[in-house]
């Protein structure tokens, strides 16, 4: 593919030299900038407290203490907070699919009266900065008695105009003829959605699913507000709360452990995540 620099420029001796120098420099720079901090954290957690404070620091731990991870897990009761976070993120995922998929399907294929108005009102919420809704939504959640309940995360997460818009646009591309043919065969709308439309929509369902889980896992301010009970908190909120009192190596181990699921998710679903990135942010 032709880009900014012409192939002939690249083929020249000078061009080749510059290309390889730039490539190696970029490789080194990227590795240092984005991978090295992670390496530093993973190995830092395995250093002893005294080694962590040492000047100059050691690139490779002098003494390996992998047991720090076990200790950190026990000390911070990480199992409990992992479970809390999984419940929050998994529930947010299921509720978003259960609420947004039928809504998008109805708007796309059944096209009810005032459907466009409904969609417009949903999309209008995208214009609102999330921060503007923080206080009134909190007060509403508190009034409903949802504080300390994961539903306080699940239900507001389902009011996601972005998801509905992405799903609707995908459903729009599925020919109406398929739906009509199934109707003539006697299938109801719900059956058509479950048996015909959803199996054809795997790519967009994957994108919406992954982003639902990642967003819930990464969120901080909302879980910070709705879980005053420390035992119910998610990993992020708990780590922030205990950060000051924790020995540094235990804290860093906890940080690494809390990131592992997201990193694994990324490695497993790279293609979907990167595809969803452009779909999600530009919607185009």
């Amino acid at each position: 593919m032709r880009t900014l620099i012409s192939p002939s420029q690249l083929r020249s001796r000078k061009g080749k030299t510059i290309y390889w120098v730039v490539l190696v420099l970029t490789l080194v720079l990227f590795t240092i900038a984005f991978l090295f901090p992670l390496y530093w954290a993973v190995t830092g957690a395995m250093k002893s407290s005294s080694e962590l404070a040492k000047v100059p620091p050691t690139l490779v731990p002098e003494q390996w203490h992998p047991e720090t991870y076990v200790q950190s897990w026990k000390e911070m009761d990480l199992g409990k907070y992992f479970l809390n976070t999984i419940v929050v993120a998994g529930g947010a995922w299921l509720v978003q699919l259960a609420v947004d998929v039928p809504a998008a399907y109805a708007l796309s294929k059944l096209r009810p009266k005032l459907g466009n108005l409904v969609l417009g009102l949903m999309l209008a919420t995208l214009m609102l900065p999330a921060a503007a809704l923080l206080v009134p939504t909190y007060v509403t959640v508190a009034d409903l008695g949802l504080l300390n309940s994961p539903a306080a995360i699940w239900l507001p997460a389902a009011a996601n105009a972005f998801n509905i818009y992405l799903l609707k646009r995908f459903f729009d591309q599925i020919p109406d003829e398929i739906v009509e043919a199934a109707t003539i065969d006697g299938a109801g709308p719900v059956r058509i959605m479950a048996r015909i439309v959803l199996p054809m929509s795997r790519p967009i369902l994957a994108v919406v699913s992954i982003f639902a889980v990642v967003t819930a896992w990464k969120d901080f301010i909302w879980p910070l507000l709705v879980f005053p009970d420390t035992g119910k908190q998610t990993l992020s909120v708990m780590l922030q709360r205990v950060a000051i009192d924790m020995p540094l190596n235990l804290l860093v181990a906890g940080l690494v452990l809390a990131s592992v699921p997201m990193v694994l998710l990324f490695l497993a679903f790279q293609r979907h995540i990167l595809a969803g990135l452009t779909a999600g942010s530009l919607k185009g």
Partner: protein, 315 residues
Amino acid sequence: MSSPRSSSVLERPAVTPRAARPSANLRLRRKIKENLTAYGLLCAALACFAIFSWYPIVRGVLLSFQQVDFVNDPSWVGFGNFTKLFEDPLFGVAWRNTLLFTGLALVFGFFVPFLTAVLLNELRHAKAYFRLVVYLPVMLPPVVTALMWKWFYDPGSGLFNQGLDAVGLPTSQWLDSSTTAMLSLVFVSTWANMGSTTLIYLAALQTIPGELYEAAELDGAGMWKRLRHVTFPQTRFVLLVLLLLQVVATMQVFTEPYVMTGGGPDDSTVTVLLLLYRYAFVYNDFGSASAMSVLLFVALGVFSAMYVRLTKEAS
């Protein structure tokens, strides 16, 4: 949406009214049934939006004119909450800090990813590796990133000062000095978020037809001219959309200052959202916090509206 089509179908049987009447009746019944099913499928979403989006929008505006203390009933105070905010010396500081953060974040978070994407687009090797590592930080929970960087920033034994010291460069106080604290927060946020912006630019760059570069080259345009007259105009739309998105996102910065500095030193990192949080959840003054939300909305509404419009046009 479907009305013009269905009406043209309805017009045709009008020639044979006897056959048309029952089928029109049936059609109407079917239409009603379809609408009921549609709203049945929509009801959960409508309820969620009504309770957690639409109602809070109205409630937020109402709250901003009320005094709320959860002991007595809320009372109307007119613009009292707003004047209270304007009298708070931290209010101006918070807006200045937030604008500084947004400005710096645009300089770094907007141009650096663009230049990175242009560079990556030229490289023919290790593409998958670059995409992987640049996006990795985006996956980390922001609290993890913030706490990790707080440790890196430590003026004594932190990674950064140790690194700078090792190569003979002057060290910095990073988060501990009011002159560098905000800049340090911008670095973290840029590091954490540039992966997504870079990859969106990269995707946009890959849609530029190669012929445009060839034509420009034949016209004698050098590399910089091609960048200015081909690359830039061709990605203008994506640049604009991400610019708007980034203004809206960075004006709401909270996690980094809350976790890393708590607003200090000397209030140099108190942002609008941090102050809003304090009003609501430290002083329990939900009225003033709502007034602050309303102001934030007014400040950002235009940007958000432009963003939504542009992306709708694109599709």
